[in-house]
């Protein structure tokens, strides 16, 4: 699951990272947003959306995407 701040919500972590980049010589990078990734193994992948809604993401402030890697070890 990829969980990130919703568009339009101020992300001060992203801003801080963005401000640090020019000092390291990285120019022309904008709109940095910091989210998080959750990896898990699930017997019933159909319920992962519900899992994101109820716990892993807060739908008021975060968007999520689910990526399935079938048969992953």
């Amino acid at each position: 699951m990829l969980i990130r701040p919703k568009e339009g919500i101020l992300d001060p972590q992203g801003k801080a990272v963005e401000r640090a980049l020019p000092a390291l010589g990285f120019e022309g990078i904008e709109q940095v947003r910091v989210g998080r990734m959750v990896e898990l193994e699930a017997d019933d992948p159909e319920r992962l959306g519900e899992l994101c809604e109820k716990l892993l993401a807060n739908p008021l402030i975060e968007d999520y995407e689910i990526e399935r890697l079938d048969g992953a070890a």
């Binding site: 919500i9 101020l10 972590q13 716990l55 892993l56 807060n58 008021l60 402030i61």
Partner: protein
């Protein structure tokens, strides 16, 4: 009058909250997070700290505890509930209060004494828009994730229904909260959450006893069970 003060692994202000409740002349006891029974409790405090290590999001895991399930029922029945700091985050995560608390705009942990403006609740039928008539409370705040956020239409509804309970005094918003909101109440008025810490302002020795008024206001706001 007897308060129950919830205690999660990672709570750190429950002792001060107990002391504050007792200073209002009430009795108080701790309620361990695995307890489901609020028998004999007339009002509840969800104290500050870092429940369950603040893992995932602050308050996200605490809301699934047996004690919080009991508090949700208690709140729905009209029982008075006060969530302080991490407790406010728990109440928002549990859906007992609208909105969410995000990282401070400054990215810095804030720890300082602040002036709060207490705003009348729905029980008085109006919000006094004349600031000089509103009581100001001197109460400390200490948090890293206290920026109150809700959608614009939710903020409008909170204002219209008298659900904004505490505002930071002009120029003192420490975290970038929407509309200077420091604390809100639910529509019925019996569930109140705020980021600053009234339990740390109950003794003249530490500079202010204004925090007692927050406990008294919440105790008075609940519908007697």
């Amino acid at each position: 009058m007897r308060w129950g003060v919830l205690q999660f692994p990672g709570s750190c202000d429950e002792r001060d909250a107990l002391h504050a409740c007792e200073r209002t002349g009430a009795e108080a006891r701790l309620v361990w997070h695995e307890e489901r029974d609020l028998e004999g409790v007339d009002a509840v405090v969800i104290p500050g700290g870092f429940s369950y290590g603040d893992y995932l999001r602050a308050g996200a895991i605490a809301r699934f505890s047996p004690a919080m399930e009991a508090v949700a029922e208690f709140a729905t029945a009209g029982g008075p509930v006060l969530g302080i700091c991490n407790g406010f985050q728990v109440l928002c995560e549990a859906g007992l209060l609208p909105g969410a608390l995000l990282l401070n705009e400054s990215l810095r942990f804030v720890c300082r004494q602040l002036d709060l403006i207490a705003v009348d609740g729905p029980e008085t039928g109006h919000i006094d828009t004349f600031e000089a008539r509103r009581p100001t409370l001197s109460i400390p705040a200490k948090h890293g994730e206290g920026r109150y956020f809700a959608a614009e239409e939710v903020l409008d509804a909170l204002e219209a229904k008298g659900q904004i309970a505490y505002c930071y005094a002009p120029g003192q918003n420490p975290n970038g909260s929407a509309r200077d909101i420091a604390g809100i109440r639910n529509e019925a008025g019996n569930v109140v959450g705020l980021m600053p810490h009234p339990e740390h302002a109950v003794d003249p020795l530490t500079g202010s006893t204004d925090g007692l008024r927050v406990f008294e206001a919440v105790a008075a706001a609940g519908v007697p069970a």
